[in-house]
Structures are given as structure tokens and as C-alpha cells.
């Protein structure tokens, strides 16, 4: 056993996970189970199913740093859809997941922008009406999913400011999101709306102030105290 020349077979040692969540570990085993994509009529099963969906959805969004969902267009993509088994969550069921499941899980889902989208650019949804499939055009809805709470984002920005010694400095929102300085933070590449809300929270607590309003949100700058 203690022969130093003997190389251990690769299988004997489990390979450490390279990331916190790898692409494959995002998907629970349920993801390949066809009924997972139909909300169950049995209420206790359904409650459990909703919590499974909430976990899947938040894990997926966090992993891919996705903040916004367009419903129904995003329903044809993972995680709402699994092309391998030709199943996807229907519009009504997806809404239930978003507005009941996530709420139950303590995740805020916020409808944003009464975006005026022409009917043509909305999604087409298949609906079962009296046993026959009917296609129906639905107005696109956009939601922000707060897979991290507003206070958590605010705390993260503040911690970063303190750690980088930027207290008292003026930082452009653009730099926070796209700049090299904040490259390794969780808010790098984040949604401007979400960041803006986090900063408003900090402003309310007197931790920062928007000093320059640019032409767009991204061009504003914030001074941290």
C-alpha cells in the first residue's frame, strides 16, 4: 500500500470540484423527469415541486449571472426547457413557479418596465384548449429575479469599496459593472437596474451619494463615504 512508486489509479481519488457549481451539478435529477415540467395536481406534491423548481431556477440564474427573464420567450430555453426530453414549463406553470414558488423560497421577483412591446414581438405560446393545441400570442413580460437580496448586494458593494480603499472616492457605475477594478467581484457584469437599487439602499443609509448623473444610468458616478 505504501509503495511510493505505485501510482494510485485515477478513479480511486475523487476529483475535487473545480467550481462551486459546475454546469452539470446545476441540474437536479428531476430535470430529466418528464412530469417535472407539468405542475402536479396533487397539492402536496405540487408544493414540493415548486420548491425544487425554485432551487433549480435560482441556482441556474446565479451560475450564469442572469438577472432578467423574459416570459414567455425564455421558456424555450433551459432551465425552463429540456430539449433532450422535449419538455418545457408552460406559461401558466412558469408564472406559478416565478410568483409563488420563488416567493415561498424567499426570492423577490419583480416585474420591470411596462415595456411597450408590440404584439408581434411577444412570445407565442401553445395552450391546450379543450384538448387541442392552440397558439396564442402573449405580451412579453420582463422580470428581475433577486437571487441575492438587495441588502446583500449593497453589503457586497460596500465591502468591496472598503477592501479596495475607495472610500471617499468617486466611482463610475460603468466601472463597477464593466471595469477591471471590480473584475473579481460578484457584481461584475451585473444588471444595472439591480446595482442601481443596491446603491439606492446604500444612499438611504448614508453610505454613498450619486454625484454625477450622466446621460444614461451607466454614466452616473457614486461617491462612497
Amino acid at each position: 500500500m505504501s509503495d511510493p512508486d505505485q501510482l494510485a489509479p485515477p478513479s480511486s481519488e475523487p476529483t475535487p470540484p473545480t467550481e462551486e457549481t459546475s454546469e452539470t451539478s446545476i441540474y437536479p435529477p428531476h430535470y430529466t423527469f418528464p412530469p417535472f415540467f407539468t405542475l402536479q395536481p396533487n397539492l402536496s406534491t405540487r408544493a414540493h415541486q415548486l420548491s425544487l423548481w425554485s432551487t433549480l431556477l435560482t441556482t441556474y440564474l446565479r451560475h450564469h449571472k442572469i438577472f432578467r427573464l423574459k416570459i414567455p420567450s425564455d421558456l424555450s430555453k433551459p432551465p425552463f426547457s429540456n430539449p433532450a426530453i422535449n419538455r418545457s414549463l408552460r406559461l401558466e406553470d412558469a408564472k406559478t413557479v416565478l410568483f409563488e414558488g420563488l416567493k415561498e423560497a424567499g426570492v423577490v421577483v419583480e416585474k420591470v418596465g411596462g415595456m411597450e412591446i408590440g404584439v408581434g414581438t411577444g412570445g407565442v405560446v401553445q395552450r391546450l384548449v379543450g384538448g387541442t393545441k392552440k397558439e396564442e400570442e402573449v405580451r412579453e413580460m420582463e422580470v428581475v429575479v433577486w437571487w441575492k437580496r438587495r441588502e446583500e448586494w449593497a453589503a457586497e458593494v460596500l465591502r468591496w469599496v472598503e477592501e479596495s480603499g475607495l472610500r471617499g472616492d468617486i466611482v463610475a457605475i460603468w466601472d463597477l459593472i464593466h471595469g477591471d477594478v471590480a473584475y473579481f467581484t460578484e457584481f461584475h457584469g451585473m444588471d444595472i437596474y439591480v446595482l442601481r437599487k443596491a446603491i439606492e439602499t446604500l444612499e438611504k443609509r448614508g453610505k454613498c451619494k450619486t454625484v454625477m448623473k450622466g446621460e444614461g444610468e451607466e454614466w452616473a458616478s457614486v461617491k462612497f463615504y
Partner: protein, 248 residues
């Protein structure tokens, strides 16, 4: 035996019968006592065997299984407690420990998935979940040889003296652990057996294969769905009733 005539033969016959009986019972009792001795010897040696092969029994599922089978064939309960064999069961303390630990994990797994499967879970699925968790967390339960389905079943059986709700159901070719106080009726068992083939059933599959009328099919399926034994998929041609199986 010579048949004698006359009245005296009656008493003689009676005497002969009694003496035969005594003789017979003598033989029987010697026989029994020698069997008892043999059995004691056998039990002692099986116990010694268990002690000296403790490691193999612990580490190899096949070995463990064969051994347990041998025990049950001669009527020794490998896990029998302990009252009559001194401190340990035949398999020794380590073995009892093994099955108790395993039983605890079985209970954990069944509880965890109860919401998903209505408290009926295939034995092999329970085993897969336990094995997967072991790989993920630490080393193993006992030894490194893995667990067999028979181990799981035996572990569940160790729970029965506690008056537990856990029981083994044999349906079709598969074995399930039932962790809720609920019996499957005849129709439900038949439907579950049908569903084993593809993982799901539909109304028309039942109608065509079992020759049941629509109402009977509908009732069974509805009941089983209400008991969370089935999940429905409404995105197929016809509503499919799936056995929830996604533990591992």
C-alpha cells in the same frame, strides 16, 4: 409381528405397542438431543466463522449476502439479538452495527424523498442514493465493498421490532420500501407493476392490457396520484402517470 389369537393377545398387543412407543420416544429424544448438540456446535462454528471472517462479511456484499442466506437456511437469524448468544448476535457486534447504521440511512433517505414519492421507494433506488451520498461525503459505512439490495432489505427488517411503519413490498419483479402506514390494494399493485415496464402508464395502456373499464382505470390512477405515488406528465399524447424516481 406375528399375529396371535385368543383373548390374551389383546393385552399382549397393548404391551407391545407401549414398549414400541417407549422405544420410539427414546430414539426420538436421543435424536433430538444429538441434533441439539449438532446445532449448538454448528451455531458455535458459524459464530466462530463470522468472527474470523468478520472483515470479508463487512467488506464484500456478495460474501455477506451468501452468509446471511446460509444463516437463514438453517434458521439462525444473523441479527438475532443477543439474548441467547451472549453479548453479540451471530455476526458479532460489528455486523449489528453495520445494519443499524444502514437502517438509519435508509430511514433518512425514505423520509427525504417521501414528499416526492408518497413514501414508496424502490429498494435499488434507496441503495443508489445511499451509495452516492457515501461517495460524496466521507468514506463508507463499514468497509469499502458497497451495499447490496439484500443488505437494505435486511436493514429494514431490523426495524420491525420497533413497530416501525417501514416494510418491504414485492411488486412485480421489484422490491419497494414502504415508509408510510398505507397498504397498496390489489388494483394499485397491478398498476404499479405495469408502470415498471416503461416507468409510466396511461389510461389506454391499462384499458388495453388489463381489460378494465375506463372508470376502474381512472379511479386507480387518480387514487395513486392523490397518494403521490404517481406524477403526471401532461405534455405527452395522453396524460402519462410516472413513477417518481429521481433520487440518484
Amino acid at each position: 409381528m406375528r399375529r396371535s389369537v385368543g383373548l390374551s393377545s389383546l393385552t399382549r398387543n397393548a404391551q407391545t405397542t407401549t414398549s414400541y412407543q417407549t422405544h420410539g420416544s427414546n430414539i426420538r429424544s436421543t435424536h433430538i438431543s444429538s441434533l441439539t448438540t449438532q446445532f449448538e456446535v454448528f451455531r458455535a462454528s458459524i459464530s466462530a466463522f463470522a468472527q474470523s471472517h468478520a472483515k470479508e462479511i463487512r467488506d464484500s456484499p456478495e460474501f455477506r449476502n451468501e452468509f446471511a442466506r446460509m444463516c437463514s437456511m438453517i434458521g439462525v437469524d444473523p441479527l438475532a439479538s443477543t439474548r441467547d448468544v451472549g453479548a453479540n448476535g451471530v455476526l458479532g457486534e460489528g455486523m449489528e452495527q453495520f445494519y443499524w447504521e444502514l437502517a438509519v440511512r435508509v430511514v433518512e433517505v425514505c423520509r427525504k424523498f417521501r414528499e416526492e414519492n408518497g413514501g414508496v421507494m424502490e429498494v435499488s433506488e434507496v441503495r443508489e442514493v445511499i451509495e452516492k451520498r457515501q461517495q460524496k461525503v466521507d468514506g463508507s459505512l463499514v468497509g469499502g465493498g458497497g451495499i447490496s439490495d439484500e443488505d437494505i432489505i435486511r436493514a429494514v427488517e431490523t426495524l420491525s421490532p420497533l413497530g416501525s411503519d417501514f416494510a418491504i413490498l414485492s411488486i412485480g419483479k421489484k422490491k419497494y420500501i414502504r415508509s408510510v402506514p398505507k397498504e397498496l390494494n390489489q388494483d394499485q399493485s397491478v398498476v404499479l407493476e405495469c408502470a415498471q415496464v416503461l416507468g409510466y402508464v396511461t389510461m389506454s395502456m391499462l384499458r388495453d392490457n388489463l381489460d378494465w373499464d375506463e372508470a376502474r382505470c381512472g379511479n386507480v390512477l387518480q387514487d395513486m396520484m392523490s397518494d403521490a405515488l404517481f406524477w403526471v406528465d401532461d405534455q405527452a399524447e395522453e396524460r402519462e402517470f410516472w413513477i417518481p424516481k429521481f433520487g440518484a
